[in-house]
């Protein structure tokens, strides 16, 4: 029954999205702000429908409802003008159905957990609106059959992530961290957007199925596209040199940290690379770059996690180390291992993040853990001290990025001065 498959695929994506206007319109139009119960029920209903739909889609993929379904499922076109189109096409394959089902189940579990965890928090309604928005983004990323749709989901993940980081906006630090994370995302997303445009122009389509023709491209063009995808994945998965935003992202509520930086969002960059594997496969320089970045990040994160004193920060860096290793696995072509590693890692981290607030109790119960000198401390104590100091400062990554961007900001200030002079010279008005 292909119609049922279409319906289920559509519901998997749209059901959580519908709860956003349902709650949002109530906020805009009603006299009273919606209650916690209303917001939770609407968001939970959307997630439940999406979960059921994802299970049915998985059933189609596994052949429960007849012959197994594999490949592209067409929904028409988002737009089509002359030779340009954005196809509404979803992909049913091993990677997409696994990630779709996995992500929606984890989101539903976290939603249930958050109802109690965030009870009577001022941002309760906002949290569930963002969670539904995020669920839509993950489903779109998981099931998209073309880069444009994928990019839409990718952007939704980015904005909902930034909003969650700045969730406790009464304090300045979460807001600053949110802007920083969003800035990193958007900079790296530019890579994906350029890659999408270039892919369309060179291959005639931005469908993932068209990437199979990447082998026909000249090496330089294939490498350019692969590097752009890698850049985007590095930003989303906080790989070096973009790792600075991840510990800052721990300012958000624990359930969102668990879902984003433990389970789903942090792995989105890796998922992108799995999706565009045909391009990566034909570009050795991009794969080598990926291995170098992954190993560097794993080493950096493993060093930092040893000196971190807060639970969520340590978990963030532990996550980063594993994500770096999965990146290496992908770039070495060990796709199945990478997929299994990704799913297992996400499950482990989700549990660890959700238990993070209880770690204090655990540490009191377990008592002080004695420090045993490491191999490096025994063999090269000076180097160990330097490494310790560098890890404490997280290699001053944020400072280095600030320095790298300072010429652009200086130029912006110069433009601002010029603009003021021009407007003042041509103005016919008095002071505002």
């Amino acid at each position: 029954m292909p119609d049922m498959l279409h319906l289920m695929l559509a519901l998997a994506i749209v059901a959580p999205l519908l709860s956003v206007p349902a709650i949002g319109l109530r906020v805009l139009l009603a006299d009273h702000f919606p209650s916690e119960r209303f917001a939770f029920r609407i968001a939970e209903a959307g997630l439940a429908v999406s979960t059921l739909a994802s299970i049915v889609v998985f059933g189609y993929f596994a052949g429960v409802f007849g012959a197994p379904v594999r490949g592209e499922v067409e929904f028409g076109r988002w737009l089509h003008i002359h030779d340009y189109e954005i196809p509404l096409v979803l992909l049913v394959d091993r990677v997409s159905v696994t990630i779709s089902l996995f992500a929606v189940i984890l989101t539903t579990i976290v939603a249930r957990f958050s109802r109690t965890y965030l009870h009577k928090e001022p941002g309760f309604v906002r949290f569930f609106v963002l969670l539904a928005f995020f669920a839509t983004g993950t489903q779109l990323v998981a099931l998209a059959g073309a880069l444009e749709l994928f990019f839409a989901g990718w952007e939704i993940l980015g904005i909902s992530s930034a909003m969650f980081i700045g969730f406790f906006h009464e304090r300045d630090e979460p807001v600053r961290s949110s802007v920083r994370a969003f800035g990193t995302y958007r900079f790296a997303d530019a890579g994906l957007l350029i890659a999408t445009v270039v892919t369309f122009e060179l291959l005639g389509s931005a469908r993932f199925s068209a990437l199979g023709r990447a082998g026909t491209l000249p090496a330089a063009e294939a490498t350019l596209i692969a590097m752009l995808f890698l850049l985007s994945a590095m930003g989303k998965s906080a790989q070096l040199p973009f790792s600075g935003w991840l510990p800052r992202a721990m300012e958000g509520p624990t359930p969102s940290s668990a879902l984003f930086y433990g389970a789903v969002s942090i792995h989105a960059g890796l998922f992108l690379l799995l999706r565009v594997w045909p391009v990566l496969e034909v570009s050795t320089p991009a794969r080598v770059a990926g291995v170098v970045v992954g190993l560097s990040t794993a080493f950096y994160a493993a060093s930092v996690v040893r000196v971190h004193t807060d639970a969520k920060g340590a978990l963030a860096h532990a996550t980063l180390a594993q994500v770096g290793l999965i990146l290496v696995e992908i770039c070495l072509g060990w796709i199945t291992l990478a997929l299994v590693h990704l799913v297992a890692h996400a499950l482990l981290r989700l549990g660890q993040y959700l238990r993070a607030p209880s770690l204090i109790h655990d540490s009191h119960r377990l008592g002080h853990v004695h420090h045993h000198p490491s191999w490096l401390e025994r063999r090269a104590p000076r180097l160990a001290v330097r490494l310790y100091a560098a890890s404490l400062h997280r290699l001053r990554l944020d400072d280095r990025i600030d320095v790298a961007f300072s010429p652009a900001l200086a130029l912006a200030r110069a433009i601002d001065r010029l603009d003021r002079r021009l407007r003042s010279a041509l103005s016919l008005d008095g002071p505002a």
Binding site: L17, P21, G24, L25, V27, L28, L29, F33, W78, L79, H80, I81, H82, Y84, I86, P122, E148, F151, A152, G153, E155, I156, I159, A162, G166, H169, E170, R171, D172, V175, S178, V179, F182, G183, R186, F187, D189, A190, L193, I194, V197, F200, E201, A408, L409, L411, A412, R413, I415, D416, D419, L422, R423, L426, S427, L428, D429, A432
Partner: protein, 382 residues
Amino acid sequence: MPIDALTAPWETLAFCLLLLVAPVVAESRARRTPRWHVVVLAAALAGTLFAADASVAYLMAAVTALVHAISAWRFSRTGAAALVVSALMALGVAATVGADQITAAFLLSTVAVALRAGTMPFHVGVASLCDRAPRVQTQQLASTIALVFIHLRFVDHHDEAIALAPIIVRFGAAAAFVAALHSLVQRDLRGFYRSTTATHGGMVLAALGAASLHNYAAALLVTVSAGLALGGLGIMIASLEERVGVVAYGRSSGRVDAFPRLAVAFALFGAASVAMPGTVGFVADDLLLHTLWMESPVGTVLMILASAMLAVSTLICYSHVFLGRPASLLAPDLVPRERVVAVALAALVLILGFGPGLVLYPADAFLEVAPTPVSTPDGGSR
């Protein structure tokens, strides 16, 4: 001409009227724009969009610019002067197009659009309107859409337009990039609105440049998208300033608790202006990038970076204006008349985001057809 094509001017008129009327509905009765302004503007807009002759259309466009200038005069003389200059440009187009001087008409029309859209460095007048009269600025966005419509319809079907396209695309992309970079160092809400408008001005100009390669509908969608997003932002900014005065960044201000609906509406229009998925801005941006690529890959990359920087500055603005420790403010949140406007504009932003074909297909059918035979250098006609 197919039925689809006939709906293009009607649809464009509907967007223009919405942007024209929205600020009037949102304004308090005491500050409301005189009714005759709105009536004259509506009639002139209809005349602009439905005129069969280019000279008449540009004459009507000049009338709309002059009426806007009258509305703007008491708030911003600089803005009013810029509108008068754009009216003169439109009159120039009417004269030159009548004398078959298509290249001159094309250039004058392009400069008129740049003046109205606030493209850097032609942005001084629009920047002043953004500063002093955001609601008048929203209304003049309506007639900017109409001006772009007649530009695409009457003066863009020409070999000279194709020859000049690479220059205009590069200029627009560079202007958008500079304006977006500028937006990162703004320290107040008005500065943010100014630079956001200037960034979109660059985008509109670049889209206009790429339009001559049969991307007319894409250029119109980019302009409509900019109009709706900037119009919505302008109305929300005016509403906020009515409540709290001029907003400087400084420390975070916690207004989201006092004005949750205003914050939601601001965030939505901000999201549309930075091409967030689900809004019309996303599709318009995507289409713009693909059309720009045909003319200038470097321009495309500049535009992508401009969009990224504008998104960051929008989040910075939102966080400074709305987030922070809850402030005790006595002013009410959006009142019903403002809510109606916010919901109507937001609905359109979302509907066109999911169904951009509503604008694209009729516009494509209508604008692809050159209205009158235009002579070509080899002596033929098309």
